[in-house]
Amino acid sequence: MADAPSKVRFIHTSDWQLGMTRAFFSDEAASRFSQARIDAITQLGQAAQEQDAQFIVVAGDVFESNHLSSQILLRTMDALVALPVPVFLLPGNHDPLDAASIFLTPALLAAPEHIVVLRDMQPVAVPGLSGVEVVGAPWRTKHPNADLCAEMAASLEPAAGVVRIAVGHGQVDKLSPDLSRPEIIAVADVEKALQAQKFHYLALGDRHSVYSVGDSGRIWYSGAPVATAFVEDQPNHALLVDLDGDADCTVEPIAIGAWEFVAEHRTLNNADDLEAFRQWLEALPNKQCHAVKVSFTGSINLALAAQLDELMEGQQARFASLRRRERLTDLAIVPDQLDEDSVVLTGYAKSAWDELLLQASSGDVVARDALLLFYRLAERGA
């Protein structure tokens, strides 16, 4: 090698998926969620500044779709323009560089120099920085018929005298082996290219959780900077990458977003269980940025069922979303002596109660709901 590659520090992020919405959010929460994910761009800029990172690479899926409203595009542009370091944007499967691509809109075509869209597989220099190149494998269609990273690797000569960061997007065969999908990234091929020093780091996107691919320590998924779903491991992060050519590579996750998606399961059999659940809910921090879904199993009496309903209904307003996972809930509501003590019924009301109880005990859900309602009304009237 002619020149020793210079040391470089940058931030690797991906899957901003700006413009994504979630059906379970109220309008208010949805607005905040949207804004939080645009604010994450600014937070990444601040992190870069704080950590002396020289640039940011976004490994695909900057946008949720190519067909967003101009509101999201323009707000995103405002945040991108304000970034203190260059940023490289890779079109991914959500926002491929097809004819209708959002990257072909005037706003992005005429973007300032420090916003670089990786439109082809040609290495590009980092503006204002010598000896560092970024090369991308952009998605040109939603359904590519080849491993774009392999294609990119094949087109590259070994990086001579420069540190070259490759940016790719998609699933890797180690995690999602699927022979029927030609776009799956073959890790072995990428590793070979690394060995051939065609690039020194491969920044991947698509997986919303931080993940190191293979054993090289140079292939990483950064995860989404703001959580987007219940199934993500360690979202709300970006990666701070230090690269000393082929000599050294350290990757450190840094926290960005504050939104949490929590899927909880609880067993309720008595008042203590309910109380424990109440305390668990209470202990959740930053509730307004929490989306919580809970499933229940167990068996409780009407009084507890009513309390549970009240708890769920009463706490809803504090969270971005709090809801019961009906599909996974199997909670038997069984009236017991306690119910009859708390509500004293006589005459025809008592006989109606007994009939509904009989119906509910044979698994009639409507009867159970009716009984619960009856209980509440009677309790209120007592």
Binding site: G19, T21, H67, L73, T346, L372, L373, A382
Partner: protein, 883 residues
């Protein structure tokens, strides 16, 4: 609640009254105007109206003409409470309350009113109070009992359904719970029809709308996806064609080259063919020249023969025409001679005709002259007769007038002669006397008679003068006589005739003359023959003159015939001669016509032949000239030689062309052309396809560019989220609604069943009282809301509405008494019956009295009546008589 004492002051007509009520039955008797019904009015006012009330109802209780306040004070107990509650209305309104017993309290004004209202609501079943209050005119059969909590409670207990064994804490009032369930149910469904309310149906509509919106948004997004896919395919196709096209074009060019090489051979072949064609054409031209010359020679010979033939044809025609011309001239000569003779004959005939006419005229003249002479004679005769006819004016009429006048005179004279005085003068001697101046000479013995029709003077000259005067009547007759005479005299004078006789004679003469005249006139007219005499005279003069003139002017070479007959004979003869000559002349003219026609025909034919001949001759000359000129320019030998040379050239060209054709076939031109054409098509189709794909690509790119950042994804996402949210809401709402519906239906059903059970104790109480009134076979049916449905008596059931008014009233009271009985243990309320049982017979009143007495043992009953004795049979009653 038990009423103890009611005190009224200045209440309508009541100045002051205090009524004490028994614990059981109290009968208040008194006529209406005394104020029996004011008891109910006062109780209602106390419990409901503020002392300050200004309603019409309150105003109406003021006594008439008095400016005082109206007061009512009620002493009553409720459980352990004893109350004295009084109010004054209209004037100086006041409210006072004194409570003792369980609580001691003194209140006044609004505070007192409010305390009592609250107290009653809490302690007394006011609904039952109102329900049991039987006012006049109220519907008896349906006391509004179902809203009474007390009755329900009592019945509930009576029915043994109470679950209230562990105290009242947490015990739910059924009605409150039921109302809450109904309210819940009514959030989702209408109570009557069970149809979903707007809350549900609106949400269902919104879900449907959101699905529609979602479908549209997804369709819009899908359009872009499809466009993008097509754009990708299109771009790939453009790329493919752009790569392929150069090779295709190169191949096409190679094929073009191969064909162009082959086409030079084709060009040579074409050139050779053209040369051959022109050589053959020249040869043909030379042949034609020789053929044309031979034809001309032949033509000249033929023309000569035709000229000779025409000449032969013309000669006899010319001769015949000449002959006919001569014949025509001879004929015209004969005609000239005949015309001369005809002129002479016509002249002779004219003379003969004139002569004949002369004789005719002559004869006419002779006759006319004779007639004229006769006419003159007739004229003379007629003038004699005319003198007679014209000489008198007497005619038949005049004669008649005379006859009449004379007859009249004779009649008057007759009358005079018979009526008038007469006188007779008898001369005794000869005497001369005058009678009326007329001398009369009488001889002796002679007598002169007279009539004294008028005054007659008889003058015996010298002797006496006697005046005779007729009597008056004689005088009148005389006047008539005078008149008749005057008439006759006037006629005689007028016609100058003496009287009827002469007139008749003259008239006869005039008639005779007229007859003659008519005869002569007829002869005259005959002779004149329609003309006048002057005209005849003129004609005679004219004929005479003409005859003289004819004779004078007539040519004298022929002698005038001696007579008319001879003249006629001569005329006929000369006319025959003329006719004969005219016939001859006509014959000659026809002959000439025929000859001329023949001549014209022959002459025309001849001229035609001559014309043909002229034309043929001229043509012949021209052809002969042309042949001569032709031969001079190009002799037959020279022409033959040139043709032979050309034949040789053509043969060479034919050989050369055949060689080229063989070479062409050997090069397989069809295949080369086929390959070239195909290469062209392939290349041009690829070019077209490329252009087409490029155009489509441009359209798609343009469209996709338009769709950039137009928010379709957001719209679809929002629609999807909205739809999901609404669907969740709907599902939850439907679930709640279903639960509510189940609860309501279950509860309502049990309630209905329960109420049916509660009816039982009330029914038993009614039947127990009814047995007293109607006997052992009495039963009633009550429906769920405690309304009387039917009555059964001795096995016969009648609907309540079908019962008599009396029976209905009795049952209504029994129902209230029973209700009062069953609620008595719960505190109860007084039952006030105002003026009832007016329709009941004495026997019934008796048993009703027993039933009321029985009810009064458990509850307070107050009966108001204006009929003393109606409630005599209520054994235990305290009777208060108002007066």
């Amino acid at each position: 609640m038990r009423l103890q004492t009611l005190t009224l002051e200045n209440w309508r007509g009541v100045v002051h009254r205090e009524i004490e009520f028994a614990a059981g039955v109290t009968v208040v008797e008194g006529p209406n105007e005394i104020g029996k019904s004011t008891i109910v009015e006062a109780l209602q006012a106390l419990f409901n109206d503020l002392d300050s009330s200004k309603t019409q109802r309150i105003k109406a209780i003021a006594p008439v003409g008095q400016d005082v306040g109206s007061s009512a004070e009620l002493a009553f107990t409720v459980g352990d409470f004893a109350l004295v509650y009084g109010k004054t209305y209209n004037k100086k309104p006041t409210t006072v309350l004194s409570v003792s017993g369980a609580q001691t309290l003194q209140l006044s004004g609004r505070e007192a009113h409010e305390w009592v209202t609250e107290f009653l609501a809490a302690q007394v079943d006011m609904d039952l109070w109102r329900a049991l209050l039987v006012d006049q005119g109220d519907t008896l059969g349906k006391a509004n009992l179902q809203s009474s909590q007390g009755l329900a409670k009592a019945l509930d207990e009576a029915a043994g359904h109470s679950g209230d064994e562990s105290g009242t804490d947490g015990r739910v009032e059924d009605a409150t719970l039921f109302a809450a369930v109904v309210a819940e149910y009514e959030q989702y469904f209408t109570l009557k029809t069970g149809k979903p309310k707007a809350l549900l149906s609106d949400l269902e509509k919104r879900v449907a709308q959101s699905e529609e919106t979602l479908a549209q948004a997804q369709k819009a997004l899908q359009e872009i996806t499809l466009d993008t896919q097509e754009q990708e395919r299109c771009a790939a196709e453009v790329l493919r064609l752009q790569t392929l096209l150069p090779a295709l074009q190169e191949h096409a060019q190679a094929q073009e080259l191969a064909w162009s090489e082959l086409s030079s051979l084709q060009e040579q072949q074409v050139t050779k063919q053209q040369e051959l064609a022109s050589g053959q054409k020249l040869l043909q031209a030379l042949q034609q020249i020789l053929e044309a010359r031979a034809a001309l020679v032949k033509d000249i010979e033929s023309s000569k023969a035709r000229v000779a033939h025409e000449q032969e044809l013309g000669a006899p025609m010319q001769a015949k025409a000449q002959r006919l011309k001569q014949q025509m001239e001879a004929s015209r000569e004969v005609q000239g001679k005949l015309r001369t003779k005809l002129a002479q004959a016509r002249s002779s005939a004219n003379l003969a005709a004139a002569d004949a006419q002369y004789y005719v005229n002559h004869k006419t003249l002779t006759e006319l002259e004779k007639n004229l002479s006769q006419l003159q004679m007739l004229e003379t005769q007629m003038s004699d007769h005319l003198k007679i006819t014209k000489g008198t004016s007497i005619n038949d009429s005049v004669v008649e007038q005379f006859r009449a006048a004379e007859t009249a005179l004779a009649v008057v004279e007759g009358r005079r002669d018979t009526a008038a005085t007469t006188f007779a003068l008898l001369a005794h001697k000869g005497l001369t006397a005058t009678i009326d101046g007329q001398e009369v000479v009488l001889d002796l013995g002679e007598r002169s008679d007279g009539v004294v029709a008028k005054e007659v003077v008889l003058d015996l000259l010298g002797t006496a003068k006697i005046t005779l005067t007729p009597s008056t009547s004689v005088a009148e007759i005389q006047d008539a006589l005078n008149h008749a005479q005057a008439q006759l005299a006037k006629l005689s004078s007028t016609y100058a005739v003496a009287g009827y006789g002469p007139a008749q004679q003259i008239n006869a003469q005039r008639h005779q003359a007229q007859t003659e005249l008519d005869k002569l006139s007829s002869q005259q007219q005959q002779l004149l023959g329609g003309a006048s005499l002057v005209e005849i005279q003129h004609e005679v003069a004219s004929l005479r003159s003409a005859a003289a003139s004819y004779l004078e002017q007539r040519a004298s070479d022929t002698e005038l015939p001696s007579s008319g007959l001879e003249a006629q004979a001569r005329l006929e003869q000369s006319q025959q001669v003329q006719a004969s000559l005219e016939a001859d002349l006509e014959q000659q003219r026809q002959l000439e016509e025929e000859q001329r026609a023949q001549y014209d025909e022959v002459d025309t034919a001849y001229r035609l032949v001559q014309q043909n001949l002229d034309g043929l001759s001229a043509t012949l000359v021209e052809k002969q000239k042309r042949l001569a000129h032709d031969l001079e320019a190009n002799s037959d030998e020279a022409a033959q030689s040139a043709m032979a040379a050309q034949r040789s050239v053509v043969a060479k060209l034919e050989a050369s062309a055949a060689e080229l054709a063989v070479a062409w076939q050997a090069a397989n031109p069809d295949a080369v052309l086929e390959l070239r054409d195909n290469a062209r098509l392939v290349s041009s189709r690829a070019t077209e396809d490329l252009a087409k794909s490029q155009r489509r690509l441009d359209v798609l790119n343009d469209r996709l560019q338009q769709a950039q950042a137009d928010g379709r994804f957001d719209a679809a996402e929002n629609a999807d989220n909205s739809n999901k949210q609404l669907s969740r809401e709907l599902q939850a709402l439907q679930r709640r609604a279903e639960a509510t519906k189940r609860l309501w239906m279950c509860l309502a059903e049990h309630r209905s069943r329960s109420r049916q059970a509660y009816v039982e104790p009330l029914k038993l109480a009614v039947e127990a009282l009814g047995a007293i009134v109607f006997g052992a076979g009495f039963a009633v049916e009550l429906d769920e809301d405690w309304t009387l449905v039917s009555r059964t008596l001795d096995g016969k059931t009648l609907p309540f509405a079908a019962l008599s008014i009396g029976a209905r009233e009795q049952l209504g009271i029994l129902l209230r008494l029973a209700a009062g009985q069953v609620t008595a243990d719960q505190g109860g309320v007084p039952l006030i019956i105002d003026d009832a049982l007016g329709f009941s017979d004495p026997a019934r009143l008796s048993t009703m009295g027993a039933a009321i007495a029985a009810a009064g043992r458990k509850s307070q009953v107050i009966i108001l009546t204006c009929t003393p004795g109606r409630f005599t049979h209520v054994g235990s009653a305290k009777v208060v008589v108002l007066d």
